[in-house]
């Protein structure tokens, strides 16, 4: 009966050091369905799917695919069994062309030699299918390093599809995708379902689950809680199952004061053109709009990582010329990058060190001597403040779940008492609960008097968290939203600025004195 399921995982256990990732999880799914795996960060859903794809070897447990036991010793074995995965951390070779990446590991051969023509025939249909997601082009020969994050994610999806899988695992695959890219992906997912493929789907976006999934298994604390049919469960119950006991979103109270902390005038850098705005102490200012409209460049320029072409930055009445991140840190500007793996954390180093890094200098005796006791005390205080769960402060950061890692990226700035905190999409790919906790941390930073600038790919986050939101389009600030106007609907329509040009003009005209009045570009 139960053994008739297409994919079956029973009693899977996995421990990393002191943290139990999977505690006897069971899982079953049928071919020709789209099956969501839901749960808070650290609930073990990523680990469960990594056991399936052979990236992680379980301590215990069994996997059966189509009635046959699967004991993969690595991704090679699972690839042969017809399992393909799109990972959260990308599995692409930056220096390779898109084509070379798509066929990596499955290069067609003719007389022992790689057959590029056949590789092209294999890969092109998928790239063409996703052309719309690449902005209408088919980037076969472009280098992966030259693509933007969303496009790389699409390449990753194509790479999984080229392998013609029977089971396709999408682990947080939509997190960095734009709306249009997601739509194309979902069309393809529906086609795959028709042809009998099992699609396993990890996401934190409720709308996506409702749009494309047939069934869902909810995980918590390393084991499965319940498996439901999406159509039979009301939306509110789903949210409750996903989030657990914590309330979804608490409305936050503004801690903004009247004191202008950061004054930016005519700043141009990278993609950003002529940005003028002010942030007050204790205020949380959001940067909205479609992805890649200059939000990251604005934050990088403020942090001194990107050289401005023009404009002035004034911090507490003093002109700042941050030519390097080091100077910015000295001026008490903190930066939380979007890519926590490569920019925000030393993944292999202990949690303690990661906490201590930005502030070590100020606790050092005579500037050089570090006391372990003092470091520990400082780290514990922060860990408690942001309620991070960890095995030991000496464990590497990589043993923590994504949500907890991200809280450390934010929390490590606390002891420096920053005056300005810059955050580049900090909640990307973390679950509702961790997100709520992270936002709590952000509000605490603001309450302590910091001016917070935050970009987010999810408009709902901005509405929940921010006092005021600047909407960017093609590098320009095109709208400023606050108070009652601060809703998802306003943000979405403002972000589409150009396509709804007339409406945008009308709204900005009624909005009070926006120093950066929209300058329309003819498209």
């Amino acid at each position: 009966m139960a053994s008739t399921a297409f994919l079956e995982m029973t009693g899977v256990r996995k421990r990393y050091g002191g943290v139990t990732a999977l505690d006897g999880a069971d899982f079953a799914a049928e071919a020709g369905t789209v099956h969501a795996v839901l749960g808070p960060n650290g609930s073990g859903k990523s680990t469960l799917l990594k056991v399936l794809t052979g990236v992680v070897a379980p301590d215990e447990g069994e996997v059966r695919l189509n009635g046959r036991a699967l004991r993969p010793r690595g991704p090679r074995d699972t690839a042969e069994a017809g399992i393909s995965a799109v990972y959260q951390e990308l599995s692409l070779i930056d220096d390779f062309s898109v084509l070379d990446n798509l066929v990596l590991g499955v290069e067609p051969r003719k007389r022992g030699v790689r057959d590029r023509a056949a590789a092209r025939r294999l890969a092109l249909p998928w790239l063409e299918r996703f052309a719309e997601a690449f902005g209408g082009r088919v980037p076969v020969d472009e280098r992966v390093a030259d693509l933007d994050p969303g496009e790389r994610q699409v390449v990753e999806v194509c790479k999984a599809l080229v392998r013609q899988p029977r089971v396709l695992v999408l682990d947080e695959a939509t997190a960095s995708l734009r709306r249009r890219q997601v739509e194309v992906l979902f069309d393809v997912v529906r086609e795959l379902r028709e042809s009998g493929v099992l699609v396993l789907f990890i996401t934190h976006r409720l709308a996506e689950i409702l749009a494309v999934c047939d069934r869902a298994t909810i995980m918590r604390n390393g084991s499965d809680i319940r498996t439901v049919t999406i159509a039979e469960v009301p939306e509110r119950d789903l949210v409750e199952l996903m989030v657990g006991e914590l309330a979804a979103a608490e409305s936050t109270e503004s801690s903004a004061t009247d004191e202008v902390r950061l004054d930016v005038d005519g700043l141009s850098a990278g993609r950003l053109h002529d940005a003028t705005f002010q942030v007050r102490a204790g205020e949380v200012l959001g940067l909205g709009g479609l992805q890649g409209q200059g939000q990251s460049h604005l934050l990088s320029a403020l942090f001194g990582a990107l050289k401005p072409r023009a404009g002035t930055i004034t911090l507490d009445g003093e002109t700042v010329q941050s030519r390097s991140p080091k100077q910015a840190v000295r001026a008490k500007i903190a930066y939380v990058p979007g890519d926590r793996g490569s920019q925000g954390l030393a993944l292999g180093r202990p949690i303690l060190e990661n906490f201590a890094l930005p502030s070590a200098g100020r606790r050092a005796w005579l500037g050089i001597g570090l006391s372990r006791k003092r470091e520990l005390a400082a780290a514990r205080a922060v860990a408690e403040r942001i309620s991070t769960r960890y095995g030991s402060l000496d464990d590497p950061v990589s043993t923590l779940s994504g949500g907890n890692q991200q809280k450390i990226v934010v929390g490590k700035w606390f002891p420096t008492e920053p005056r300005v905190v810059l955050m580049d999409d900090p909640a990307k790919g973390i679950d509702v609960r961790a997100k709520a906790e992270l936002f709590h941390v952000v509000r605490e930073l603001a309450a302590s008097g910091a001016a917070v600038l935050i970009s987010a790919s999810d408009d709902r986050e901005l509405v929940e968290l921010c006092d005021r939101v600047l909407v960017l389009f093609e590098g320009r600030i095109v709208d400023e939203v606050e108070g009652d106007r601060l809703t998802e609907e306003t943000l979405v329509s403002s972000a589409m600025h150009i396509t709804e040009a007339d409406r945008a003009v009308a709204t900005t005209a009624t909005a009070d004195t926006d120093p950066a009045a929209p300058e329309r570009e003819d498209s």
């Binding site: 690595g74 090679r76 030259d146 693509l147 990278g270």
Partner: protein, 335 residues
């Protein structure tokens, strides 16, 4: 429309960026060849060509061997002693000058090189020792075994090899130059295989390769084994050039091979570059040494001048590569 032109711009700069290291290497090659032809009167004569290519071939071969390893993300500090060990094994087996022993001796030399490489590969890929430390240690092992096989310089190499090595075809094409061409063709053939692509993949991002079902461990072992085998070929070339065996004959080639591949545009942390550039790098490196000699630099100052010029060459190659990479990264962020 804006994005279209931007895209076109990106792909053009992509092209130049990919070619950047090659451009730097070619410029260096032209400069050194011109200087050599000016200073060395007999440069473009059969004698000059033979003499130059006879010295270039061994270092170029070791550079190719090292390139295979470095591309896969490793490094081999024992490669010079592998050259030595396989050459002394070869010379011991063909000592006496009987031409009929030559094939067996060559096969044994190649097998020795392959075995040394395999040993390195197992240490690095299976036992996961740090490549620098592991191969530093094995360099003493291989060097020590070489001393046991041939304790002092000696042994004669059959005339078939030494004579053949000095042949010149069509007035200006010496045999070592032809062998260099064969070496490059063999590299192109390797590059066209799956394994050739996997060297780059593993060196570029081992984790991503593993997740893409590339046999990472096997690729690493292969790289070291292939490198050891090619290094053994360099040992044979040295024998043919010098005419006798020497238990230290190749030891100095290790760092030369690394310098040559860097000048040739191969990235030391792996994943980018190629053996073609390394061959050019070896040519440049050898010509620089000759130049210092022919320019009449006093004997005691030669090492110093030689070193200074190599630093300039490496810096030039490195600067151009680094700049092109930086451009690539910042553009990637913008796009």
């Amino acid at each position: 429309m804006n994005t279209l032109t931007a895209r076109a711009g990106t792909s053009v700069s992509n092209l130049t960026r990919a070619r950047m290291p090659m451009v730097a290497t070619t410029v260096l090659l032209i400069v050194t060849v011109t200087a050599a032809a000016t200073l060395q009167g007999n440069f473009f004569t059969p004698y000059g060509m033979t003499a130059n290519f006879a010295t270039i071939l061994p270092i170029a071969t070791v550079a190719v061997a090292q390139t295979i390893i470095v591309l896969s993300g490793g490094i081999d500090l024992s490669i010079g002693t592998i050259v030595t060990l396989s050459s002394v094994v070869t010379v011991r087996l063909m000592d006496g000058g009987d031409p009929s022993q030559v094939p067996l001796a060559l096969a044994a030399g190649l097998a020795t090189g392959a075995a040394c490489g395999l040993f390195n590969g197992l240490l690095v890929a299976v036992l996961r020792l740090q490549p620098i430390v592991a191969t530093f240690a094995t360099s003493f092992v291989f060097g020590g075994v070489a001393l046991l096989v041939l304790s002092s310089p000696g042994g004669t190499v059959p005339a078939v090899l030494t004579g053949g090595y000095r042949q010149v075809f069509a007035y200006l094409v010496p045999v070592p130059a032809l062998l260099l061409l064969v070496l490059w063709l063999a590299w192109r053939l390797l590059r066209a295989q799956r394994i050739g692509q996997y060297l780059y993949a593993v060196g570029g991002n081992a984790g991503a390769s593993y997740a893409s079902a590339v046999p990472v461990t096997w690729v690493r072992v292969f790289a070291y084994t292939a490198g050891g085998t090619v290094a053994a070929l360099a040992g044979v070339a040295l024998l043919a050039n010098s005419g006798s065996g020497d238990p230290f004959i190749g030891n100095e080639l290790t760092l030369g091979s690394i310098a040559a591949l860097v000048i040739g545009g191969t990235r030391l942390r792996g994943g980018a570059g190629g053996a073609g550039g390394s061959i050019l790098g070896a040519i440049i490196l050898t010509l620089i040494q000759n130049l210092v000699f022919f320019a009449g630099v006093p004997t005691n100052a030669r090492e110093l001048v030689n070193g200074a010029i190599i630093i300039i060459a490496i810096a030039l190659a490195g600067l151009l590569t680094a700049r092109s990479e930086r451009a690539g990264r910042s553009e990637g962020r913008t796009a």
